[in-house]
């Protein structure tokens, strides 16, 4: 079988065969350069931070449901400076809010979706023995680890962790307590981690793909990670620069973001002045909107793999999906200011950014529609990964469609900073991205461990999470449409206009706590199955992509024989074929 031309062929497998050496514990499991170990490190770290960020949110939800009421038992553990007598102080709520957002985005979802799945799956899926730069890969993880430790450590500094929201808007963030300095230092570590990772993914994808694996033979997951890496590489540097600038404003007396004559607590602030506080918003959102796609594209990639596998048919509109995801990557750099309509931008700029925002919805809809149409006529296997993947579609759909009014200037202004916004983007990233991540964990767990996760526990986890996600977030649309601000520590209990919707906060909070309970089967299943799950062969899902050619779990170097790609990624139910899947790596 001949290979398509233009593919850079390598012989890394042979190289690995000669340098296999027995590594000690520290180099094998802690300071490892193996992409699979690093992927698992990323994934476990990401999951732990997701759990931690979720706990912060559950605490916040207590004060939103029952403002001013002491939290029994647990509340007294936080001391008088944060929860005197168990009653949450506004400053502590602000800590929880800022750190919930920061941790969920930068320490939870990104490390799991990009660092975890990207590291573990991508090299396997392109038939590579490892990442292109294994030591940089290790460094990338440890930068993340340091960033995480810095963020956690900030809870223990005088005045507590950052309180300026995950967006850290200036000038408040510049005059905030010392926790904000820690936040900035932590972010610099996290951004460095992402940049190193992005470089590695791009190089690996281009240089280490298997023979015959042309770009249009990439599994959609590879495309998703590829575009995501470009977004990280190009969008994060401005925020890294902005973070250093804000740090200088705080500790070195500069005024990059501090205007002259700023009055703080009735007194003119003694600073150099001359800075522009809106500049921070531009630099932040120049990263943070592409960041939304960093959160969602890997999720789309995971869902695409699972839907193709469990419908037993090729993805509908694969090429259109690929063109859409590339287009989406480009356009994601010119929509950022739709987060800033409230800053008083001119009508011409507002018109431009709302137009680009409407345009970017088109490729998203193409991808979502293709995934939905892929279900049509399929012999669907409703296993746990497929349940999560299918649930992703309407949940992400709700998140995406409710974002359209926020992209239009005239409807964004009354909705800005209300709970409507919270509901919208949580539908995108919680029952959206996180469902996809759960799907991916259940799907590739056998590849990583050689064992299946328990199906019954998986279904309990799925149905409980699906119902509770909607119980949590659907009421927030109602609260937001009533005009309640997302920043209020007491959910607006002091305001008359918020009274008619206060009870919905109770519904959301109970939904959140019950959702927490429904994560217990997953946590148990995750650890229990490592030793007790049903053992599997290399390809338990009867899948077509190259990662399933490697043993489960794959050894160092991944493949006993260098794989080659002979066809596209989703050759399911090929007419005349002996079985309903024809792997990419099989010659016939």
């Amino acid at each position: 079988m001949s290979h398509p031309t233009g593919v850079d062929h390598h012989k890394p497998h042979a190289a690995h065969e000669v340098h296999h050496e027995e590594l000690g514990f520290w180099r094998k499991y802690v300071f490892s350069t193996d992409h699979k170990v690093i992927g698992i490190q990323y994934a476990v770290t990401g999951m732990l931070f997701l759990l931690f960020g979720f706990v912060l949110m559950m605490l916040m939800r207590w004060n939103l449901a029952y403002p001013g009421v002491p939290l029994p038992i647990i509340g007294t553990l936080f001391g008088d400076a944060r929860m005197p007598g168990g009653t949450m102080l506004p400053e502590f709520y602000n800590e929880l809010g800022a750190m919930h957002g920061t941790i969920m985005v930068f320490l939870g979802v990104v490390p799991l979706a990009v660092g975890g799945f990207g590291n573990f799956v991508l090299p396997l899926q392109i038939g590579a023995p490892d990442m292109a730069f294994p030591k940089i890969n290790m460094m990338s993880y440890w930068c993340l680890f340091l960033g995480g430790i810095t963020m956690l450590g900030s809870f223990f500094v005088p005045g507590g962790a950052a309180q300026s929201g995950w967006t850290s808007y200036t000038p408040l963030s510049v005059i905030a307590g010392s926790g904000q300095t820690w936040w900035l230092v932590g972010m610099i570590f996290l951004i460095t981690s992402s940049l190193l990772g992005a470089l590695n993914f791009l190089t690996t994808t281009i240089q280490l793909r298997a023979k015959g694996l042309t770009f249009m033979r990439f599994p959609f997951f590879v495309w998703a990670q590829f575009v995501t890496s470009f977004l990280l590489l190009l969008a994060f540097p401005p925020l890294e620069a902005a973070g250093v600038m804000q740090l200088m404003d705080r500790v070195a007396g500069t005024s990059f973001f501090m205007p002259s004559g700023l009055v703080v607590s009735g007194q003119v602030l003694a600073n150099a002045g001359g800075g522009n506080t809106v500049l921070w918003q531009h630099l932040f959102w120049f990263l943070a909107h592409p960041e939304v796609y960093v959160l969602i594209l890997p999720a789309m990639g995971i869902v695409a793999e699972i839907i193709a596998n469990n419908t037993r048919k090729p993805l509908w509109g694969y090429r259109a999906m690929v063109y859409s995801i590339v287009f989406l990557g480009f356009v994601s750099f010119i929509v950022w200011a739709h987060h800033m309509f409230m800053t008083g931008m001119g009508t011409a700029m507002a018109a431009f950014f709302q137009t680009t925002t409407m345009i970017i919805s088109i490729p998203s809809i193409v991808i979502l529609t293709s995934l939905m149409l892929s279900l049509w006529g399929g012999s669907i296997r409703f296993n746990t990964p497929m349940l999560f993947a299918v649930a992703f579609l309407p949940m992400f759909g709700i998140g995406g469609l409710t974002g359209l009014p926020l992209g239009l200037n005239i409807s964004d202004i009354p909705l800005h900073d209300t709970y409507y916004v919270i509901a919208h983007f949580h539908y995108v990233v919680a029952p959206g991205t996180i469902f996809a991540l759960f799907a991916g964990i259940y799907y590739w767990y056998p590849k990583a461990t050689g064992r299946m996760m328990n199906e019954t526990l998986g279904r309990i986890h799925f149905w409980g999470s699906l119902v509770m996600m909607n119980v949590v977030f659907m009421p927030m649309f109602i609260v937001g449409l009533a005009g309640v601000s997302r920043r209020l520590f007491d959910a607006g209990s002091a305001y008359d206009f918020a009274q008619p919707v206060m009870q919905w906060n109770v519904v959301s909070s109970w939904g959140a706590w019950l959702m927490g309970i429904f994560q217990i089967p997953f946590i148990f299943n995750f650890f229990w199955s490592i030793r007790n799950g049903k053992t599997v062969s290399a390809n338990p899902w009867e899948a077509t992509t190259i990662e399933w050619a490697a043993p489960s779990p794959p050894p160092h170097g991944n493949f006993a024989v260098e794989p080659q790609a002979y066809r596209g990624p989703y050759e399911y139910s090929v007419p005349g074929a002996a079985k309903d899947f024809t792997p990419q790596h099989e010659a016939t």
């Binding site: 506004p90 400053e91 520590f489």
Partner: protein, 245 residues
């Protein structure tokens, strides 16, 4: 037996008298009994001040049936001035320390007004902050030397406590929720300070004989000083008169 006990009791009293005589006779151990008193008045025509505007928070406005007078200038009969802090700013024995009282200084938030409006506290003394209103307040101190204290006090948190570790002249305490709420506090290393009532009177007692500089401070009308010499058991008057400059 009874006689022996009585003799022993008499003996004890004699010892007591002897110790007291020695203490009183010792030159450096004289009882500090000097007092500086005074009245502070406002010179000129009293300005017409607008009452506090609490409309921004209806919960505050509802707490008052009548307009709440401005706190920046409190005048009594004969233009006597309240809310003036007076303290001994110089002349106290070098190196002498004064323990902070065990009882706290209390700041209450009642009717969306800080009570008292002007207060003094000693270094390390407990500063007790009450929320009698049962609505959200925020206590934000604006010191230059001490660490700032900026904390919300939700409706159900009735009491918080803090203290100030360093001496500092008068600084503002404000509520970030209700911008009209202001108070002023001075942190001292000694107990020789007083705040005038509406009658404008103050009294600083317990001083040793000596020459002292007395400072009077008003939040809008500035600071004045005077030098006063007091002998043991003296009570010396020192009045101040403030005017709009």
């Amino acid at each position: 037996m009874t006689k022996e006990i009585n003799m022993r009791a008499i003996g004890s009293r004699l010892w007591l008298v002897a110790v007291l005589a020695a203490v009183l006779g010792w030159p450096g151990a004289a009882f500090a009994a000097a007092t500086i008193t005074g009245t502070i008045t406002f010179a000129g025509k009293a300005p017409a001040l607008k009452p506090l505007a609490m409309d921004a928070d209806p919960a505050c406005a509802k707490m008052h049936k009548a307009p709440v007078p401005a706190e920046m200038l409190v005048l009594g009969n004969g233009n006597s001035m309240g809310n003036v802090m007076v303290w001994v700013s110089k002349g106290l024995p070098a190196g002498k320390t004064y323990p902070a009282p065990k009882t706290p200084v209390t700041l209450d938030q009642k009717g969306c007004v800080y009570m008292p409006h002007v207060m003094g506290i000693m270094v390390g003394q407990a500063y007790r902050i009450l929320n009698s209103d049962g609505i959200l307040h925020n206590i934000h101190t604006l010191p230059k030397i001490n660490p700032a204290f900026n904390r919300g006090q939700p409706a159900t948190v009735k009491e918080m406590t803090t203290n100030f570790p360093k001496p500092e002249n008068m600084f503002q305490v404000k509520c970030d929720v209700h911008p009209w709420m202001n108070a002023y506090i001075g942190v001292f290393t000694n107990p020789f300070y007083a705040v005038t009532g509406a009658d404008g009177k103050f009294s600083i007692a317990g001083l040793d004989a000596g020459t002292y500089e007395i400072t009077a401070w008003h939040e809008r009308l500035g600071t004045q000083t005077a030098t006063v010499t007091v002998g043991a058991n003296d009570t010396k008057p020192q009045d101040f008169k403030f005017a709009v400059k």
